[in-house]
């Protein structure tokens, strides 16, 4: 009897251990970051921690090769009066461990370029935003912070008076190295608070096998958003649903880029997104859901991974994401990778192809403003950016960086196929969304309105007009 109990106990242990290990192995959504949002050209505006494609890393296992570190170059010291003996704290978002070596090498080069300055670097990941909020609350926020432009973090913290304005502190010669559209994005009351850092491209990955099955030529993929509903109808008839997404965390931005909707009056005192353009934008999604041509779970998810997984599973004809995510397709579905196509995302009615991705800002009350500005600028300068681009499919924020032969070389893989076009695409990026007061609350109101129209049968005009009435009450 004892031996049977022992045997049973051992078996139970094995079962439990198996259960625990399988639970631990459950692939949780790897929060990364990417330049994409919804079906079209709208830039990503959802929490970066929830986006699969925004982070430059694709997988921790893909640690890039470590080339020989760049030698220090005194010409990179472009910020004057850097405080001697400064010790500055720098936080990045989701770059470790994949890019540890790149970051350490760049910091070492910075410290050699600006002698007497020490950098204490930390990478924060899923809890980045909470950590940063708590650090600001405790008065221990880092001096230099990697913030997501696409998510609107720069305007959020700048609007609360927590970031250092740059316009009068950075020499014009330094400002001019960046694409003007990127330097001027995310202005708060006309003032810039960020150095534009790495950028992404908005592409659609295509499952060419499903295109063949539906008798659609991938070359005919729509150039503008207007073509998406008809395309999804065609695929629905062939048995597959489109995996397109609403940017649930920033629907106003999506309205602006896709529908060319004027969301706020010129004086900033009234919301105006219930205009005919706004209604037409919403009606497009209402009609697609009515036609049952889109995956509704993916449509409203805040997690890019949900849509990406559906695409990687092979059941979706196309998916808007970053080109670097093609590597995930390669890792997880080799058959699909063999049938993979990549095209630029359709452009919205705004005719603006997207906005910036990541930036570096300096906190307002830093003890060492010049040293902090120097570090933020150093990471975003063309030399540092080219080096970063060689390790992963991200793109520099300065036109001169693209003069490097790397950007004119023939791409070897599909994930790099957009590289030669990157400069032309990124040079058009601009943040055309006005600073929205009480943005999170307004988005919540718009989100409910959009859902009530799409899923609740409420007329699109009524849903948006009611939302405008509610949102106007938040304007003080």
């Amino acid at each position: 009897m004892t031996s049977r109990k022992l045997l049973a106990g051992a078996l139970a242990t094995v079962v439990l251990a198996g259960a625990c290990s399988s639970a631990a192995a459950t692939p949780t959504p790897a929060p990364t970051t990417a330049p994409t949002a919804a079906p079209t050209t709208a830039p990503s505006t959802e929490p970066a921690s929830q986006r699969a494609s925004e982070a430059p890393s694709t997988a921790a296992s893909e640690t890039p090769a470590s080339p020989t570190p760049l030698a220090p170059d005194p010409a990179e010291a472009v910020i004057p009066n850097v405080e001697q003996g400064a010790e500055i704290h720098f936080w990045t978002f989701y770059l470790s461990p994949t890019f540890d070596q790149y970051l350490k090498d760049t910091i070492a080069r910075f410290e050699a370029t600006y002698p007497g300055v020490k950098v204490d670097w930390e990478d924060h990941q899923a809890t980045f935003k909470d950590d940063l909020n708590n650090a600001f609350n405790a008065g221990s926020a880092p001096d230099v912070i990697n913030l997501s432009v696409s998510e609107g973090w720069v305007s959020e913290y700048a609007g609360k008076g927590l970031l250092l304005p740059l316009d009068d502190k950075v020499p014009d010669a330094v400002k001019n190295i960046y694409f003007p559209g990127l330097w001027k994005e995310q202005l708060v009351n006309g003032v810039n608070y960020q150095f534009p850092w790495y950028q992404g491209l908005n592409v659609d990955l295509l499952n060419k096998a499903l295109f063949t099955k539906a008798n659609v030529d991938p070359a005919s993929f729509p150039k503008t958003i207007d073509g998406i509903p008809a395309l999804c109808d065609t695929f629905a008839k062939a048995g597959s649903l489109c995996t397109i997404r609403l940017t649930m965390s920033d629907l106003l931005a999506q309205m602006v880029y896709e529908g060319n909707v004027k969301v706020l009056s010129d004086d900033g005192k009234k919301f105006t997104f219930d205009s005919p353009e706004g209604v037409a934008w919403l009606q497009m999604y209402v009609d697609m859901v009515k036609a049952n041509s889109v995956d509704q779970t993916v449509l409203t998810t805040t997690d890019d991974r949900v849509g990406l997984n559906a695409f990687i599973a092979g059941g979706s004809p196309f998916y808007a994401t970053g080109p670097n995510l093609a590597r995930q397709v390669k890792d997880q579905n080799a058959t699909l990778y063999g049938n993979l196509g990549m095209v630029q995302q359709p452009i919205g009615k705004s005719n603006v192809s997207g906005k910036g991705l990541m930036s570096i800002s300096v906190k307002k009350d830093t003890k060492y403003p010049n040293a902090s500005l120097a570090l933020a600028q150093f990471f975003t300068n063309p030399r540092s950016m080219v080096e970063f681009s060689k390790q992963v499919a991200i793109y520099p924020s300065s036109p001169s960086a693209y003069d490097d032969p790397f950007f004119s070389s023939t791409p070897a893989t599909i994930e790099d196929s957009a590289r030669p076009l990157a400069k032309d695409i990124i040079s058009t990026y601009a943040d055309i969304v006005p600073t929205v007061p009480s943005k999170a609350d307004v988005n919540e109101i718009v989100s409910k309105a959009v859902q009530s129209a799409i899923f609740g049968g409420v007329d699109a005009q009524k849903a948006l007009s009611d939302a405008v009435d509610q949102a106007n009450k938040l304007i003080k």
């Binding site: 139970a12 079962v15 259960a19 459950t26 909020n133 995956d295 805040t302 009530s452």
Partner: protein, 291 residues
């Protein structure tokens, strides 16, 4: 009694009391304070009086979340019935019973997020449930389960029941094993059949466990969060179809940065759970006395 002897018990209690004060008492007091402020976590709180409570009264999503949380309480009686049934089934000597008991306990020791993800995949458009229904010819196109507002809460409740039944049945199993065998013998002699045996011996004998499970499972149901968070992909479901009170609290605090308002919601939750616990215990104690 000397002063020293009187102090000694308090010295032994001190470590636990200090921890309790830091991690329980202080946060509760702080939440009470924050509930009267406009607080976005980043900047210092600003006193707003009763504004957060006034907003609660007029907030339809708050009332919807309470409604959902109350609906969620339906898991409690279902859990009790199923757990008792399972405990009775496994309360016997049979081949491989230890493995069986271990298997149904597996959900209790698995992470709720892992379970939630597994269920998300089960109910995915291309998931197991749809595959089975399609292969049996019961449906012709996949159902978008979690995109259907009327399905989110039932699926979450089903998940809670599935994950909890093993744990609670172990409690009932322990209770069953404490019931003297003589009572069952007496019941048999009195002519009870198998069902009557459990109706008149097992159930009354399990009353303390039923009280315990009723209280903790209903409190857990009122505080449900993980299932909703994972199944709805952090959105609360289309049209707030899965928003429960704790999920709404989380959303206000950590998505919308309204920590002051979230604190007011927390106070409402505290009041609800307190009243619910007292009523629950009193009701069951009264039943105990009558039994």
């Amino acid at each position: 009694m000397t002063l020293r002897r009187r102090l000694i018990p308090y010295l032994f209690l001190a470590p636990a009391l200090v921890l309790l004060a830091i991690f329980v008492v202080y946060p509760i007091i702080a939440v009470v304070g924050y509930s009267f402020t406009d607080y976005d976590i980043v900047r210092p709180p600003v006193f707003v009086g009763l504004a957060n409570y006034e907003k609660l009264v007029d907030d339809p999503t708050f009332w919807l979340s309470i409604q959902h949380s109350l609906v969620y309480l339906l898991v409690t009686p279902i859990l009790i019935v199923l757990s008792i049934g399972l405990a009775i089934v496994v309360n016997r000597a049979m081949r491989g019973i230890h493995i069986f008991r271990a298997l149904y306990f597996v959900p209790a020791v698995s992470g709720s997020i892992a379970i939630g993800l597994a269920w998300t995949w089960l109910f995915d458009r291309n998931g197991f449930i749809n595959s089975v229904l399609l292969s049996w010819g019961l449906i012709h196109t996949p159902i978008q389960w979690l995109a259907n507002p009327s399905m989110v809460l039932p699926i979450a409740m089903l998940l809670t029941i599935w994950a909890g039944v093993g744990y609670y049945s172990v409690i009932f199993l322990a209770g069953l094993q404490n019931i003297p065998e003589e009572l069952y013998d007496a019941a048999r002699i009195d002519g009870c059949n198998s069902f009557q045996k459990h109706r008149y011996v097992s159930i009354p004998g399990l009353r303390p466990q039923i009280t315990f499970v009723a209280v903790i499972s209903s409190l857990a149901a009122l505080k449900v969060f993980d299932e909703i968070y994972v199944l709805t992909g952090r959105t609360g479901g289309i049209l707030d179809s899965g928003v429960t009170i704790v999920f709404y609290l989380w959303k206000q605090a950590f998505v919308l940065s309204h920590a002051g308002y979230a604190s007011a919601i927390a106070m409402a939750l505290l009041a609800m759970t307190l009243v619910f616990s007292i009523v629950n215990v009193r009701f069951l104690e009264r039943g105990d006395a009558e039994a």
